[in-house]
């Protein structure tokens, strides 16, 4: 017979072990499901990005590429990393600091036309700030 106190402790340890392993497995699974990978417009242009999967892309909004629909809030614009550009569509209100020639990061899915349908558009929130992904993208290009 185990000492009752020790038995109680053993039960707790088993319970904690089981629940932590279940929780860890579930967390790992959900993280994989909900991770939005970042792709550069070049990667998207050469087909490296998966289709129909939520992902992020970023770069500079090409000057003169912004088009608005007549009746709705639908818009489309091109995002470029200097080498290639990708077409982005979005419906809704743009962030305050969004403008042509500025950098942006968008989240959405790519269709078979290589157009990114964004559900979220972020612009930098401070004139001195560049999103780290974009800073690194330019660094890798040697710009």
């Amino acid at each position: 017979m185990m000492h009752p106190l020790r038995k109680q402790r053993m039960q707790w340890i088993c319970l904690i072990l089981i629940s932590t392993s279940v929780a860890t497995a579930l967390i790992a699974y959900m993280l994989r499901q909900n991770a939005n990978f970042f792709y550069t417009p070049s990667q998207i242009a050469i087909g490296q990005a998966p289709l129909g999967v939520s992902l992020r892309a970023g770069g500079e909004v090409v000057v003169g590429s912004l088009k608005r629909a007549q009746q709705s809030l639908a818009i489309e614009f091109l995002v470029s990393d200097g080498l290639h550009s990708v077409k982005v569509t979005y419906e809704g209100i743009l962030p305050d600091l969004f403008s042509e020639g500025q950098s942006t990061v968008v989240t959405g899915k790519i269709d078979d036309q290589n157009t990114l349908h964004a559900v979220q558009v972020l612009a930098k929130h401070d004139e001195n700030y560049t999103p780290p992904e974009i800073a690194e993208m330019y660094e890798n290009q040697g710009i």
């Binding site: 967390i27 909900n34 991770a35 939005n36 970042f38 743009l94 999103p131």
Partner: protein
Amino acid sequence: MNVFLSPEMGHIALIIGSCLAFVQALLPLAGSYTGTVRWMQMGRSLACGNLFFVFLAFLCLSNAFLSDDFTVRYVAQNSNTLLPIYFKFSAVWSAHEGSLLLWVLILSMWTAAVALFGSRLPLQFLSRTLAILGLISVGFGFFLLFTSNPFERTFPLPPIDGQDLNPLLQDIALILHPPLLYFGYVGLAVPFAFAISALLESRFDSAWANWSRPWTIASWCFLTIGIFLGSWWAYYELGWGGWWFWDPVENASLMPWLVTTALIHSLIASEQRGVFRSWTILLAIFAFSLSLLGTFLVRSGVLTSVHAFASDPERGIYILLFLSIVVGSTLALFAIRGPVLMSTSSYSGTSRETFLLINNLILTVAVAVVLLGTLYPLISDAFGLGKISVGPPYFNFFFVPLTFVLLIFIPLAMRSSWGNVSTKAVSSWLMQPLLLSLLLGLIGSTTLAYWVGEKGNSLLAIVTMTCVSWVFVMILKDFRDKIKSSSFTLLPVRYYGMVLAHLGVAITVLGAGLYAASGIQRDVKMGIGDYAVLGGYTFYFSDIKRDRRSNFSFTQAEIIVSKEDREIVTLNPEKRHYFSNPQTMTEAAIDPGLLRDLYVSLGEPLDDDHWAIRLHVKPFVRCIWLGGAMISLGGLLAVLDKRYRRRKICSQDRANLSVQSASEI
């Protein structure tokens, strides 16, 4: 300009303050081992001296801001002559250097408070605690002096005017949010120092837990107010109507809050029953480590976030180093001393101990979820697995169910008794409230569905209403029974605190749940004379005008909201253009109400006379912050309880106390 409060004076004061902290870290600690009473006693005066000099440094920096001294680089970067005076003052902590100085100042305040109010602590314990706090202060003081000196001048050519405070931060809530949050963050250093001192002298009796409790609850209160204030600010100032974004920086404040909540509850069990002692110590260590991690996440710029205004990797590395030293050394100490901490009493499966343990488990899992979700992008990047971000669906998937499970257990823990309770005793008082809350949940969601349309009848609304009713029914029942057997005045203050705080949690969940279940929003294109209908309300765009105020010009729309041909309110959302800065700001217009908020924000101009406009109808969103206020107030009542103001306890009383306190509450 006041010469006495010059930036150089501030710099010197900061150096002296850090030196005092250094002595405070060494002398009392050495004294506690050699038994030199005089050295140990010096801890208290050193703590007060440190507070004096750090406060002087803070005054000097404030003076530089108030007198527009743009020769100081930090002032030039974050202030402007046109700024109203109260924003000039709050600009002191608007960026890295100043907010770090505030961090150090608040640490000095907490340390001095421990020195002053800790007279009932044994001298050896107090001196060790003060030494630990001194060490932390030295770490941050040196960080400030060597990597981020706020007093640096820009000779020889100072700018004529400053670059201005970021417009997002020009807001009343932002004057208060960072200091309150810091009081919470930094206050966690106190239970941490208590835990380390306890490990150093292997003392974990109920007296120790009793000393630690008021400090833990106090810093938790500040953290609570800070987080809710931040969420309120994000709601009306970021302009797009959310109240929690799972932004890494929000997570950074949520994690220590969750751990501290767990700590408060496990301290109760440790104090009254002598159980979970090693767990309590571990939680105290983690709470402070997570607040350091939060500082690292906010200040290192490793994250893409609304808070990452300016960043410097070098500073991040310093904090990361500091963090790893703190966590590494304390965990090592814990590994050496921890095994001594054995529980002394047993308890059954339906006792309060069990329910508190379940509460702790849920909170710990919640912290793990948030921690992994926040750090996963960093880890993935560091190992070259790709740049990713983790979105709200991940967090909601775990957090929403965990919250409901937590709500189910809250009243169970409050209502159950300590020790070996039989299962029958519990189930006898369980059935009635259970049925009642199910009924209330159904009635509530049906009413909601009738009021806001079919969206109100969702599963989320039903579960929310049922869980919230469950908490209310059980707590009120418990309250009624307590009043019957005792009387209003005989019940301890902390009991009222507990009731208020837990009802607050339920109210917050009610607000969050119903907002998520039945809130509606729409982005529309509108010109003058257009109207849009949302949730039974008619929004009529009547006018648009342009004007200016002291440091910005603005475009203001006039939108008249009516329901069933009855005019309710006129809302004036704005777009602001700051002169010093090309940045545009969205100022939402809100008609607040306990039952619903009407929220309108002005988007970008589409063509000559059309604008993008976002309309919201948000039922019960105010409950989120109302609940937050109740939680904080409940915590405040708990701190005020006279139990924590007892005079010095001699060792003989202590044995009596543990018996006596077991029967209390």
